[in-house]
């Protein structure tokens, strides 16, 4: 069993597909990204396949991403060790034989929906786990805006924030939909072994002005169905569907979380809409609004993490609506237990 340190990665599941970057960003050049437990090097082979290797030369402490890509091989920029696409060192400059142990970790990769998913855990298990599907990111009937935010907060804090929709009212009151202003309607939470789904149906309320304008329908009211999905530590999605009388306007929020360690993460956020899809002005407006929203989420999460870092975990009182977030904690605890990490209940997520 592993002991958990404050900035260790032991409390972060690794047997999980994480979306490290977009397909567009990976090409015939060396790209460095941080992920659970360390640096990852990404590049595309001449055949177009994505390769993910540990971004650190086996010889000395130097990132392979600071080297050169020659065909499908990477040469270390410091010492000249050359690695193939499986991470195996194939030549060293100073002797004919490659030393034993001269290899770097090679991680399974998949591309789906314009994202590059990487498996940083036990490699043999990767093919037994599905890569999530996010069709609205690339389907023709949708337009998507997005960004990336590094957050000095643990991944579980982020998921617990996503799991509590009512927090939007307090974190970002200006953009919170009017639907959230009243008492929240009944919350339904549906669980499986590995997932949590929550949903609420909000009674008819005014559409946010920006949405009414984009829909070209003037002041309008609509019934909103909100659904949130915890798919894995790597992914939380939200659906906001408004039936405004002249049709349904759909929004999909895709939150791709990559933990670096227990207290730092990266969030790739995407907001996809199936209305005003050809209106670049609408896209710019969405990008500005939600860029601001996620900046506020970042600030709130970092504040929460700072409390944990300074004063440690404390007793928590739960309300009934926390059941979704608590089930997420249970699932993550189970994942860690399967990976051989034992945590006391009260220390998880802190």
């Amino acid at each position: 069993m592993t002991t958990v340190n404050r900035t260790s990665t032991a409390a972060v599941p690794t047997d999980c597909w994480y979306a490290l970057t977009t397909s567009a960003e990976v090409d015939r050049h060396l790209l460095a990204v941080r992920a659970v437990g360390g640096p990852v090097l990404l590049f595309r082979t001449q055949d177009g396949a994505v390769v993910a290797l540990e971004d650190r030369c086996a010889h000395r402490a130097y990132p392979l991403s600071a080297g050169t890509l020659d065909g499908d091989q990477v040469r270390c920029g410091l010492c000249g060790f050359v690695y193939d696409a499986d991470g195996q060192c194939v030549s060293v400059p100073t002797q004919p034989r490659v030393p034993l142990g001269a290899h770097v970790a090679s991680y399974p990769t998949r591309e789906r929906d314009g994202l590059v998913w990487v498996w940083l855990g036990e490699a043999g298990r990767a093919r037994l786990h599905r890569v999530p599907g996010l069709p609205w990111l690339t389907d023709a009937g949708w337009a998507t805006v997005g960004g990336t935010v590094p957050i000095d907060a643990g991944f579980l804090l982020l998921h617990e924030n996503f799991a509590d929709v009512t927090q939007i009212r307090f974190v970002a009151p200006e953009i919170a939909p009017a639907a959230l202003a009243g008492a929240p309607p009944p919350l339904e939470v549906v669980v499986t072994e590995t997932t949590v789904e929550l949903s609420r149906t909000f009674p008819s309320s005014p559409l946010p002005p920006w949405q009414a304008e984009m829909l070209g329908i003037g002041a309008a009211e609509g019934e909103t169905v909100q659904r949130g999905f915890f798919t894995s530590p790597a992914l939380w999605t939200d659906h906001w569907d408004v039936d405004h009388g002249a049709g349904t306007a759909r929004l999909r929020f895709t939150q791709l979380v990559t933990p670096f360690d227990e207290r730092r993460s990266r969030l790739h956020w995407r907001v996809s809409r199936d209305f005003a899809i050809d209106d670049p002005g609408a896209g710019d407006r969405m990008h500005a609004m939600f860029g601001d929203y996620y900046a506020r989420v970042q600030a709130a999460m970092e504040t929460a993490q700072a409390v944990l870092d300074t004063d440690g975990p404390g007793p928590e009182v739960n309300v009934a609506a926390d059941v979704a977030a608590l089930r997420v904690r249970d699932i993550v605890r189970g994942m860690l237990a399967e990976e051989g990490v034992a945590l006391a209940r009260q220390h998880l997520g802190t």
Binding site: D15, E122, G124, R125, R127, L128, H129, R130, A183, P184, P185, P186, L187, E188, V189, V190, V191, T192, E193, T194, T195, E197, V317, N318, V319, A320, A321, D322, V323, R327, G334, A337, E338, E339, G340, R345
Partner: protein, 323 residues
């Protein structure tokens, strides 16, 4: 202000029996397909689902491919002396039949290890099949000893024979009872034992693993409630506090904690109501639990921080749950 309710439930779907295959004497494999198009929830080895079989709900381990989002596979042994679940499956669930499936859930997960000893008795092979696939894929060292009445009664022997020497078939009519002492003779430091099968096998393996194996090395799943020899306290009343809900109740001797929680209008998950499936597990904050389930092992019970509320009760006067 209107009262807002939170309800918690498990995923439920109506699936269609896509195929029925006899995979051994008295064993039928059913492939249950999603027809809604929304796909089925993912699961990991050791998971099971509820099948709603008329008036009964029964749990069956998932034994197919975890990456298949379109169907779930279970294998059911016909047991004439059972309460009728398996008979229902064999007689009523033909191809094309609809069946309500709840879950999946998993109280028998495969923990990461360098080395595994799998021991299966009869239909207990079903949860171990996907575990073996995962252990093999991860490059772990593993061995399966698979016992049953006769070779013909043992399902998936052809598939398992493909693993060569890692699998030992031990039908009782050929080799007698499994020699567990030999099979589990050399406890390794990072070796886990996974076992599923009839109660006599499970009791025997618990006994063997008490000698020389670390207390957390053995993982097993019971398909039937353990019959306890230990004297059970005459049912007593006690106070039940649901800390998160701010509710205090008096539990009478003739009502279960689960029933009290439901009657109080608080969402709680449950399935078998016999203390085997683990669905109703709740965190315990205070009180001495009177464990009557077949899920928690000795050290888990001694930790006194969790209980199966459908069967377990309280030895002290006050039980506080984090609910």
């Amino acid at each position: 202000m209107t009262e807002t309710r939170t309800t918690l439930r498990e995923h439920e779907a109506e699936l269609v029996v896509a195929s029925v295959t006899a995979v051994a004497d008295g064993v039928r494999e059913l492939r249950l397909a999603d027809v809604s198009g929304s796909g089925l929830p993912p699961w990991t080895p050791g998971a099971h689902v509820d099948l709603v079989l008329g008036e009964l709900v029964r749990q069956y381990s998932l034994c197919g491919d975890p990456t298949d989002a379109t169907s779930y596979t279970v294998a059911v042994l016909r047991e004439p002396e059972s309460r009728g679940g398996s008979v229902f499956v064999h007689e009523q669930l033909a191809e094309g039949a609809k069946v309500t499936v709840r879950g999946p859930r998993n109280h028998f997960p495969l923990v990461s290890a360098d080395s595994y000893r799998f021991v299966a008795g009869g239909i207990g092979i079903t949860p171990l099949l996907p575990m073996i696939a995962e252990a093999d894929a991860s490059g772990a060292d593993w061995h399966l000893t698979y016992g049953g009445r006769t070779r013909g009664s043992m399902a998936y022997t052809d598939h398992l024979a493909g693993y060569g020497e890692r699998v030992t078939f031990a039908p009782a009519d050929e080799v007698g009872l499994l020699d567990l002492a030999t099979i589990l003779a050399s406890p390794g430091p990072r070796t886990l034992v996974y076992c599923c099968g009839p109660e006599p096998l499970l009791a025997a393996i618990e006994s063997v693993c008490e000698q020389g194996w670390p207390s957390d090395a053995l993982h097993l799943e019971r398909f039937a409630a353990k019959v306890s020899d230990a004297p059970v306290d005459a049912e007593r009343a006690f106070e039940l506090v649901l800390a998160g809900s701010g509710v205090t109740l008096q539990v009478p001797p003739d009502k279960s904690v689960f029933d009290m929680i439901q009657d109080a209008g608080i969402s709680v998950l449950g399935s078998c109501h016999e203390g085997i499936c683990g669905t109703c597990e709740q965190a315990v904050l205070e009180g001495e639990v009177d464990h009557r389930d077949s899920v928690l092992n000795e050290s888990e019970q001694a930790a006194n921080d969790a209980m199966m509320v459908c069967v377990s009760r309280c030895l002290s006067d006050r039980l506080v749950l984090d609910l």
